[in-house]
């Protein structure tokens, strides 16, 4: 065959390959499971709406296995773990969420593990993983196991602190946009926020209330620093009003003096 004919065939063969290469390849887990019916296909759909999908955490990050090799994807030799038994769920999630696991195990929820107590997925669900937030503490979720009364008290205590943190964060951002050196304020808020987040897996009402009070006292310190900034801004404005008035008076004086020379 002629050389140009060889090249043409090569081109035709390469064409579909190149069009595939343009799209980022999905991992094999999703390629197979998304087409499967029922319980085996469901996790893919749920995962797509989860905080994990949003952050790029895919199947193999939790379940192990080889996401690139369809034939051996679920081979234990490649690190495939499958689904954990109920009692093993906290340890399963805790491989990444180390601090949360500790807080959970220390709480009443964690102590009831294996005795009918909730695991991570009870509140956060398994594949449609919900982001940790105060919204999770709601009547529907909590009353699966017990009445909402105690949970409501905890939630109220935390909500107030959360609102304070959000408001302070906004004020710091506004000052940052005005060239104020907010580094130390941001660091303090970061530390307080972390401390606040450890409360999320504590279910001891007294403890949450006590901790919240401590956190709010720390937030108050940041608020005081912001107040000092507000005060100095206010002082600058007063000084500005004085200076601008002085200039206008001087302008008037020059104008009147000018008139005397007509």
């Amino acid at each position: 065959m002629h050389l140009s004919a060889h090249l043409f065939i090569l081109f035709v063969l390469l064409l579909p390959m190149s069009s595939f290469a343009a799209e980022p390849a999905e991992i094999v887990c999703i390629q197979c499971h998304s087409t499967m019916p029922g319980k085996i296909g469901e996790p893919v759909k749920l995962w797509k709406g989860s905080i994990h999908a949003e952050n790029g955490i895919a199947c193999n990050a939790c379940h192990g296995g080889d996401p690139k090799d369809a034939a051996n994807a679920m081979s234990p030799a490649r690190g495939f773990l499958g689904a954990p038994k109920e009692a093993a769920i906290p340890a399963f999630c805790g491989r990444c969420h180390v601090g949360v696991l500790k807080d959970y195990l220390a709480s009443a929820h964690g102590k009831a593990l294996g005795k009918g107590g909730p695991t991570c997925v009870t509140c956060h669900s398994n594949h449609l993983v919900v982001k940790a937030s105060l919204d999770i503490i709601n009547e529907k979720r909590c009353s699966q196991c017990h009445s909402f009364e105690r949970a409501r008290v905890i939630r109220d205590a935390m909500q107030e602190t959360e609102a304070m943190i959000v408001a302070i964060d906004k004020r710091i951002a506004a000052y940052k946009g005005n060239g104020v050196d907010t580094e130390s304020l941001e660091k303090s808020l970061f530390a307080v926020r972390n401390r606040f987040h450890t409360l999320f897996h504590n279910v001891d009402v007294g403890m949450v209330k006590k901790e919240s009070a401590g956190i709010q006292a720390d937030l108050k310190k940041i608020q005081d620093q912001l107040k000092a900034l507000d005060d100095s801004r206010q002082k600058r404005k007063i000084a500005g009003a004085v200076v601008v008035s002085a200039m206008l008076l001087l302008a008037l004086f020059a104008h009147l003096l000018r008139k005397t020379f007509d």
């Binding site: 005005n178 060239g179 500005g240 200039m247 001087l250 302008a251 020379f261």
Partner: protein, 367 residues
């Protein structure tokens, strides 16, 4: 008082101070119908001095090093006593300088003072206009913020459109392929040494020409506005029976300067962020382009012009032609008539030009 008189006498004996005062101040007569627009030049001189003084104060703490520049500006704004005031004055002052300069140019344009024999005044003024744009552009980079970095990237990039030499010119301006530490070094040198010296020298020439030709008579309120100068020999336009510069017009200048200061300080104290965006307070990051990069307000028309033409080269050429036309205006506009209301074609062109500039700026702002 006696002591003061003795001091003046002592100086007078040595340099003839009273003669200089009589010639340049009290005896220096200005046209009777002189107006407030004539004090724009004095305001500009005052702003220039203020920029030099605040600039020198900023230099004490500013560090022209890409790793330290942003931190040093943050330090000036937060730690140095009244550092924020000095910096805000310098930043707001730069925008105000361009604004007053535009007013100065527009007043000269509408009073037709650029006409023969004042071509040299207009030309030096035009050079000052470009130098002020240059000093603003170079100053913009120094805080090494996201805004600085990306505005300079966009501004230097437009030189790319010039055929053949474009890419070399961009590399020369930046001191490398991209905006980086060498760009900061050369912009710093331009901003604090070369351009200020240039401006001072051209201001000297501008005032020298003003002094040699004499102040032009405003075309308003006078029946006879014809220029008697025929261009055949040097003549000084004196104003017999006019008002003395000192104290009369000097007080008017002073009044204008105080009014300017009131406006300027009102911005500095109450809304200094008028000329800032959020990106001005984020350190430069060459790996992250902010969403909306826009130049300073006075470059918005240029920026929009580059965008509306299909090729950047045409956009640049149109701007070059516009600037050349403005620079050579006194040589193109040869009529003797100086009253704007008696020159309909001139009025249409001048107002049309200003409207076009404002329109392009607004379009650039919202695009």
């Amino acid at each position: 008082m006696a002591l003061l008189k003795r001091l003046i006498d002592w100086i007078d004996v040595r340099i003839g101070a009273r003669e200089v005062v009589a010639k340049e101040l009290t005896g220096y007569l200005l046209p009777r119908n002189i107006n407030t627009w004539y004090s724009m030049g004095s305001i500009l001189l005052f702003i220039f001095v203020l920029q030099v003084v605040t600039g020198i104060l900023l230099l004490i703490y500013y560090v022209p090093d890409a790793d330290k520049a942003f931190k040093s500006v943050t330090y000036i704004m937060n730690e140095v006593p009244f550092g924020w005031l000095i910096r805000m004055c310098h930043v707001v002052g730069s925008s105000m300088m361009v604004l007053v300069l535009l007013f100065h140019m527009i007043s000269v344009l509408f009073m037709n003072s650029y006409k023969s024999p004042r071509e040299m005044n207009w030309l030096t003024g035009f050079i000052l206009f470009t130098l002020v744009q240059g000093i603003s552009l170079t100053g913009y980079l120094l805080p090494w913020s996201q805004l600085s970095f990306w505005a300079t990237t966009v501004a230097t990039n437009s030189a790319n459109a010039i055929p053949v030499v474009g890419p070399y010119l961009v590399e020369f301006l930046r001191g490398g392929k991209l905006v980086g530490p060498p760009t900061l070094g050369r912009f710093f040198a331009l901003h604090v040494a070369l351009i200020p010296l240039g401006i001072a020298a051209v201001v000297g020439a501008h005032l020298f020409f003003l002094q040699r030709t004499g102040v032009s008579t405003p075309p308003f309120g006078l029946k006879d506005t014809t220029n008697r100068w025929k261009g055949d020999g040097y003549s000084y336009e004196s104003h017999p029976g006019g008002i003395p510069f000192f104290p009369n017009y000097a007080l008017e200048d002073l009044r204008s300067i105080f009014i300017y200061l009131a406006c300027f300080l009102a911005v500095v104290y109450f809304d200094p962020y008028l000329f800032f965006t959020r990106d001005s307070f984020i350190p430069a990051n060459p790996l992250q382009t902010p969403a909306h990069i826009k130049p300073e307000w006075y470059f918005l028309a240029n920026y929009q012009t580059l965008k509306i033409f299909p090729s950047e080269f045409i956009g640049l050429a149109v701007q070059g032609a516009g600037m050349t036309f403005l620079a050579l205006l006194p040589f193109i506009d040869r009529t003797k008539e100086r009253h704007p209301l008696k020159r309909p074609l001139f009025m249409i062109c001048a107002i049309g030009g200003i409207m076009l500039w404002i329109g392009l700026s607004v379009w650039g702002h919202y695009s």
